[in-house]
Amino acid sequence: MSSTMTSRVRQKRISQLISRGKRLDGRELTDYREVQVEAGLIERAEGSARVRLGKTEVLVGVKFEMGEPFPDTPNEGVLTVNAELVPLASPTFEPGPPDENSIELARIVDRGIRESKTIATEELCIEPGKKVFVVFVDVYVLNHDGNLIDASCLAALAALLNTKMFNYEVKEGEVKIKPGYKPLPIRNYPVAVTLAKINDKLVVDPGLEEEQVMDARLTITVEKDGKICAVQKGGYGYFSAQQVFEASKIAQQKAEEQRKLVVRE
């Protein structure tokens, strides 16, 4: 089915089912769709991973460049996250410069990684104040079937865990690449959990049709010790304070489950 519109009858059905604690695809309200994670598919990238969340599919590639540090953090590498809603992923995605949806997606992924201090950026400094590594995390959405946020965050984490840094030495201010690789220093594992509010109920991992029915969504990113490191509400509806508290508890639990799919310690 290539149509992106969900008929009114179907919308009503989705909403009614959810009010009884059921979902069209048979999931419980707090169930994720099946998740598949594959790391290292793109040899040219320093790190990469593809996440399939049901039919949603996101590919993340990590590349390095040398650049200047920010003046307020002269000894730290730089993280840059970008998201592309590629037109092949959905009939509603148009080519062109990033729109507000792709910018929001990139900024949610960025916030989770940045605030939880996932990358040990101080180890990416080459010459303080002058030269550091810039880590580019590029989120490439390949198929849109709902909940791009959680899929992108998970794929970004998997890609970072898969990322290899080349060995180098600095000789007279010049960076020389040496043979061999080492893993990118990773210190935390943030996982985003998105809940949709449909018919006043909270639903984990909304699919595309559920996103068309939802009043609002709430994304809560949880780091490895269960602390909350980023939150984003989206959509035209609202949440009560009670619902937000409930959502944070569900997210903490779900994040731990999802993390195990990517992090094998």
Binding site: N75, E104, R111, I228, V231, K233, G234
Partner: protein
């Protein structure tokens, strides 16, 4: 391997729990709102919250351009949050940044639940927020002032939307963070709220909070929203009640 040289500018909270600007932990900056400050706009308002100075203007409901954006069953709300190049320490390029585009989106989504958009099908309500001076919490002050501008434009609403941020600075939970507190602190959570319908319409957070702190910070921010709400109502009342009284006085004077 390397030592970071990132230093907090100074101590942000002293041993008596007093903040750099002399406020208590749960104290908001003084808020001042003025209604109907722009001649051309259908509704407008100006807010000062500490050093934040923000203008909001509403045009509409009016015909939508381009026309294909019109919705058959309701009005479209369009929102632009923009910072003046001189509003921050280092000049900001006037071209909209990624941050401004994201904020425009979340601000729109925070105000739309308050508006009866279904009363004005096929029209647009255009909202412009210009930050003239920024000192932390501009999206919240922007939402607060925009909601007043919408009311000033006479657009029917379920409730005023009030916004305020709360967060964690040097281990303590604080209300209404300034720019230095935001940058030097551990967490910042902007929140927008419709008090009469108990609805949170904007919620963002960056930083690190335990589940317990998360709930406490939300409650703190909700208190701040309620306080902004009072200032909003007072501002609207003082414009419209004063105008009404002046008219009544004129009539009385005419009768004599």
């Amino acid at each position: 391997m390397f030592k970071t040289s990132r230093k907090k500018p100074e101590k942000l909270i002293d041993e008596n729990d007093v903040r750099l600007d002399g406020r208590k932990l749960n104290e908001m900056r003084p808020v001042k709102i003025e209604v109907g400050v722009l001649g051309n706009a259908d509704g407008s308002a100006y807010i000062e919250q500490g050093k934040n100075k923000i203008l909001a203007a509403v045009y509409g409901p009016k015909e939508v351009h381009p026309k294909h954006l019109a919705l058959p069953d309701r009005a479209v709300l369009r929102c632009r949050y923009h910072m003046a190049p001189f509003s921050v320490e280092e000049r900001k390029s006037p071209a909209p940044s990624r941050r401004e585009l994201e904020l425009s989106k979340v601000i729109r989504e925070s105000l739309e639940p308050s508006i009866f958009t279904e009363y004005y099908p096929r029209t647009s309500i255009d909202l412009f927020i210009e930050v003239l001076q920024a000192d932390g919490g501009t999206r919240c002050a922007g939402i607060t002032v925009a909601s007043v501008a919408l009311a000033d434009a006479g657009i029917p609403m379920r409730d005023l939307v009030s916004a305020c941020a709360a967060g964690k600075v040097e281990g303590r939970l604080v209300l209404d963070l300034t720019d230095v507190e935001d940058k030097g602190g551990e967490a910042d959570m902007p929140l927008a709220y419709m008090p009469n319908v108990n609805s949170i319409t904007l919620l963002q957070m960056d930083g690190m909070l335990t589940g317990e702190e998360f709930e406490q910070v939300i409650n703190l921010a909700l208190d701040g929203c309620k306080q902004s709400g009072l200032t909003q109502k007072e501002a609207l009342r003082s414009k419209y009640v004063t105008a009404k009284e002046a008219e009544a006085e004129k009539e009385e004077a005419g009768e004599e």
